[in-house]
């Protein structure tokens, strides 16, 4: 299986491809509308010299564009999630539950929590598919 450098365009493409191929995701996410941006706080010691902005877009089970963006684009998303690199790595490895991480202040969310809860199965599936990607993390490369 191919390996992808975390938080690069190739990694986002691989993630998107996983989702496009997932019939289960398409069914579960049929009610989801809107984009989610992921903001990764800088951590130079772990190979993240500056803030990373990732944009992902979803529409009724279809998958829109996934790309690295600038701050303004990230802040235009319906949901904005931010956190330290190490926290995102824990989420992507399923070492912490994303909902729990939000409640405990390990990640931040700007947006309508009730919408996320109503679609929690979609959120969990997106993370499950991310976890299936063989990822090379900057601090482990």
């Amino acid at each position: 299986m191919a390996k992808y450098q975390a938080m690069t365009q190739e990694w986002l493409d691989a993630w998107k491809q996983k989702m496009v191929e997932s019939k289960e995701y398409k069914e579960i996410a049929k009610n989801w509308e809107g984009s989610v941006s992921i903001i990764v706080n800088p951590d130079p010691e772990k190979g993240i010299p500056e803030t990373l902005y990732l944009f992902t877009d979803y529409w009724h089970g279809d998958v829109g564009d996934f790309f690295i963006c600038d701050k303004a684009k990230a802040e235009s998303a319906k949901f904005i999630m931010s956190g330290d690199y190490a926290r995102w790595k824990q989420v992507a490895r399923k070492e912490i539950d994303s909902t729990k991480a939000l409640m405990q202040g390990k990640l931040k969310l700007k947006g309508d929590l009730t919408y996320i809860v109503r679609n929690i199965k979609s959120v969990n599936k997106v993370i499950d598919l991310l976890c299936e990607i063989e990822t090379v993390w900057p601090d482990e490369a």
């Binding site: 409640m103 969310l109 929590l113 809860v117």
Partner: protein, 387 residues
């Protein structure tokens, strides 16, 4: 097994608690201890009418920069924005909330806006803040919400017609002053329903998928205190010793659920409040035993702990028997304190139930329920059982 090696949690409880009959008179000294000089006092018309703010205003003297007494039963963003404008106009440097959950949550919203500026609509989310907020002193006039020690606020977004949840560690109240005299005049039904709100916080914290040992300990003690002292308060509201123990139980339950979160009972009660205007504590109280019955297999261990705290776990009972005893005990406790036991008693119409069931699936509390709930028909069945 209660906890395994995967146990991992954050416990957060920074609020200083000042307890005692007459403690609300110390508000000026507590405020001075925070380095504050100008307080905005926030309350509602009912609390004003009951005269509960008088002593607070007297204690504050000229350190009261202004009084905002227009908080409605279910506070909204418009109210918070208006009150924050008033607080800015009065150059307030702290907020003193005197009231129940709606007043306290209004105070929390004002604190954010005094520090960050803007309107509350910009702060919908979780853990967005990055610095301590304006100091907040809370003097509860009910014993139930636990909001005096949590970092959560529930505020109506009038534009969307739905309540939003704001969770911010940086916005937990600095001080909670628990003065039993502030709850002395609560009528029996309000005493019972706010007490059942606290009981529900404790039981749901114990059963939560986010439960942890510190919250469990607080929840267990809250249940013990409520079981012993709440019936005394409903029968003799002037018993200040019992009132104080119930206040402490509500605060402990607040710490417990503020960390471990709540579950399906709250999700259903929030929805029923929106659809049929059932007061939160009453909805929680009626629904709690029915939700416990629904969760029984998935939360037997937790409910056995509830049975221990209630004193109904008899020697030789296996876990499942103790869990069933806990459910039965909560049912009989409702009757003992004069609390309604059926939704039909509190003006809920059968046609409200389906809408409330659908809404429950969108409530943040539901993700912490021990039995996963994905189907609104399951929720509807619980509503019907409670009807």
């Amino acid at each position: 097994m209660a906890y395994d090696r995967e146990l991992s949690f954050v416990y957060f409880g920074p609020t200083r608690v000042v307890f005692g009959v007459g403690a609300s008179r110390d508000v000026e000294m507590e405020m001075a201890g925070l380095g504050c000089r100008r307080a905005l006092v926030v309350t509602d018309p009912g609390v004003m009418k009951a005269g509960l703010v008088d002593g607070v205003l007297k204690s504050l003297g000229d350190k009261c920069a202004g009084l905002f007494s227009d908080v409605p039963q279910d506070t909204g963003m418009g109210v918070v924005n208006l009150a924050a404008d008033y607080a800015r106009e009065k150059a307030a440097d702290c907020v003193v909330s005197v009231g129940g959950g709606s007043v306290i949550d209004t105070g929390k919203g004002i604190c954010i806006l005094l520090t960050e500026g803007g309107g509350l609509e910009s702060f919908e989310g979780i853990q967005l803040l990055t610095r301590p907020q304006t100091p907040h002193i809370v003097i509860p006039t009910t014993a139930g919400t636990g909001s005096e020690v949590t970092c959560m606020a529930v505020i109506l977004d009038e534009r969307k017609g739905q309540k939003i949840l704001i969770i911010e560690y940086f916005n937990a109240p600095r001080i909670a002053i628990l003065d039993p005299r502030m709850t002395e005049k609560l009528p029996p039904l309000l005493t019972a329903s706010t007490g059942m709100d606290a009981m529900t916080h404790a039981v749901e914290a114990l059963q939560s998928v986010q439960r942890e040992p510190i919250a469990d300990g607080l929840a267990m003690q809250a249940i013990r205190l409520l079981y012993r002292h709440l019936p005394v308060c409903t029968q003799n509201g002037g018993d200040l010793a019992a009132r104080g123990q119930v206040q402490l139980a509500a605060t402990m339950a607040g710490w417990a659920f503020g960390n471990a979160m709540v579950g399906l009972t709250h999700a259903m009660a929030h929805s029923l409040g929106a659809v049929a205007r059932v007061p939160h504590g009453i909805a929680n109280g009626i629904l709690l035993p029915h939700v416990m019955a629904f969760n029984l297999e998935d939360a037997a261990e937790s409910y056995a702990m509830v049975a221990e705290a209630l004193g109904v776990r008899e020697r030789g009972m296996v876990e499942s028997e103790a869990a069933e005893a806990a459910v039965a005990s909560i049912r009989s406790f409702l009757e003992r304190i004069g609390h309604p036991v059926r939704l039909s008693e509190v003006a809920v119409k059968e046609e409200d139930l389906a809408k409330a069931a659908t809404m429950s699936l969108s409530d943040g509390a539901i993700v912490n329920n021990p039995r996963p709930v994905m189907d609104e028909q399951e929720v509807l069945a619980v509503f019907r059982a409670a009807f």
